[in-house]
């Protein structure tokens, strides 16, 4: 696309043959300097997480570093709770009108899916509201309880 394909080579001046060696020296010396500069640069641009808990000279662990929901999940799992967000399938005794199964919720209602019997091939969903126990189509009794 360009009209002129000829290359203009620079004229070598005395001393130019040493430039290669100077470059090599820069390459050899560069890593340590680069690490220092990059380190300072990274710390000035990126908010430091690890320094909040004083981690130096080693890789931090999730216990020290994690925050927010990740920390909540991590801490719960470290203390033996394998299902911190209550996501798993629950099995349990049949709920009765007198003694209904408690369903924890942080809200006024929770959507509930019931596999009524072990052989059931479908999940029956219902909305469980705060207040009196409710019965699902297959006869189980449920009650919304305050989640801790």
């Amino acid at each position: 696309m360009g009209s002129d394909h000829s290359r203009v080579r620079p004229v070598l001046k005395p001393g130019d043959e040493y430039r290669g060696w100077a470059l090599l020296l820069v390459i050899v010396r560069a890593p340590s300097g680069f690490v220092l500069v990059a380190h300072r640069w990274a710390f000035s641009f990126f908010p430091i997480v690890a320094s909040d808990v004083g981690v130096t000279g080693r890789i931090p662990s999730a216990s020290e570093q994690a925050t927010g929901k990740e920390k909540f999940e991590h801490d719960a799992m470290m203390t033996g709770n394998t299902d911190p967000f209550d996501m798993s399938f629950h099995e349990g005794p049949w709920g009765t009108a007198v003694n209904p199964r408690g369903v924890p919720s942080h809200f006024d209602e929770r959507i509930l899916g019931c596999v009524c019997e072990p052989e059931a091939t479908q999940i029956i969903y219902m909305t469980l509201k705060k207040g009196n126990p409710q019965q699902c189509d297959c006869g189980h009794w449920w009650k919304l309880v305050e989640a801790k």
């Binding site: 080693r58 990740e70 909540f72 203390t79 709770n81």
Partner: protein, 305 residues
């Protein structure tokens, strides 16, 4: 209600999908204008938007994950799946170009002289710079594994946090109240060392060497391109050769950038021994680029010459 009681990350509205799509559209149409009218302005605008989107979007992901703690295990699983599917789509891309290469080279047409490489094409010597590049990429795979293992083995053994449950509500911040019990690790729990230095330094050196090897690879490829006696317009050999090695070279550039970002994140202590998804994704990507190069070397450089 500010607290949520589920592990999923419901993302905030973001301009980046729109800006990225606009950039991709402008870059595509700009490339057509560049090829046909030699006007690079629209292509550069699109490229600029794409780079802005990539930088800012992943900055946002780092903020959401590292600094806001949205990346729970189920979110991490989704991100991993996304990265693997992305790499799978990249495999399909390279498969298409390899298909073109084998289509043209396995039964070379009479216009090429019925030989491969075509008559008049002087292929590059596979046992010169390409072999060196193979060793460089394989070595970079080793150094990145070194860095990864140093990060996994990084911290000193820490006892389980005591009393962090229940006292501060369900979502403790990363503040002093939570970490006070973690700070009091006994003095005899010292960080492990390797090669006379701590694991963090090992990881820094390993990752830095990987990045440098990637840069050297790119430099040698640029040198090869400059020295090649054929161009992309020299028969289907030039087309497939530069399409394959060029696409691969672009991926090396992207992978190197990805690793540089991981290097900076490592320096700012953002990776923990159990959660360093950005680095894992970068390593997967790097190994993918590595494997593609092995295929390129064996079939295009070696068998194809």
């Amino acid at each position: 209600m500010s607290l949520v009681y589920h592990p999923y990350h419901l993302v905030d509205p973001s301009p980046w999908p729109f800006v990225g799509a606009s950039g991709a559209f402008l870059f595509t149409s700009g490339a057509v204008i560049l090829f046909h009218y030699n006007d690079y302005r629209l292509a550069l605008t699109g490229l600029f938007l794409i780079i802005i989107t990539a930088s800012a979007w992943w900055r946002d992901v780092i903020r959401e994950g590292t600094h806001q703690g949205h990346h729970t295990q189920v979110v991490v699983r989704g991100l991993k799946l996304g990265m693997l599917l992305f790499i799978l789509s990249e495999v399909c891309l390279f498969l298409a170009f390899f298909w073109a290469f084998f289509h043209s080279s396995l039964a070379p047409s009479v216009e090429l002289g019925s030989v491969w490489p075509p008559l008049g094409i002087e292929a590059l010597d596979p046992f010169a710079v390409p072999l060196l590049n193979t060793t460089i990429l394989l070595s970079s795979g080793a150094t990145v594994t070194w860095a990864h293992h140093a990060i996994i083995g990084g911290p000193a053994p820490i006892s389980a946090p005591k009393g962090t449950q229940g006292s501060e509500g369900p979502l403790p911040s990363n503040g002093a109240t939570t970490s006070s019990s973690l700070l009091s690790t006994p003095n005899d729990q010292r960080a492990p060392t390797f090669l006379g230095t701590d694991f963090r330094t090992n990881a820094v050196i390993g990752l830095l060497m990987t990045v440098l090897l990637g840069i050297i690879f790119t430099g040698l490829q640029a040198f090869e391109y400059k020295e090649a006696s054929f161009a992309i317009s020299d028969s289907v050999y030039g087309s497939t050769f530069f399409m394959l090695t060029g696409t691969h070279g672009l991926h090396v550039l992207v992978g190197t950038t990805f690793l540089i970002v991981c290097f900076i994140r490592l320096l700012s202590n953002q990776f923990t021994n159990s959660h360093h998804l950005g680095l894992e994704a970068a390593i997967w990507y790097w190994h993918f680029v590595d494997v593609v190069w092995l295929f390129l070397y064996v079939f295009v450089y070696w068998w194809g010459s």
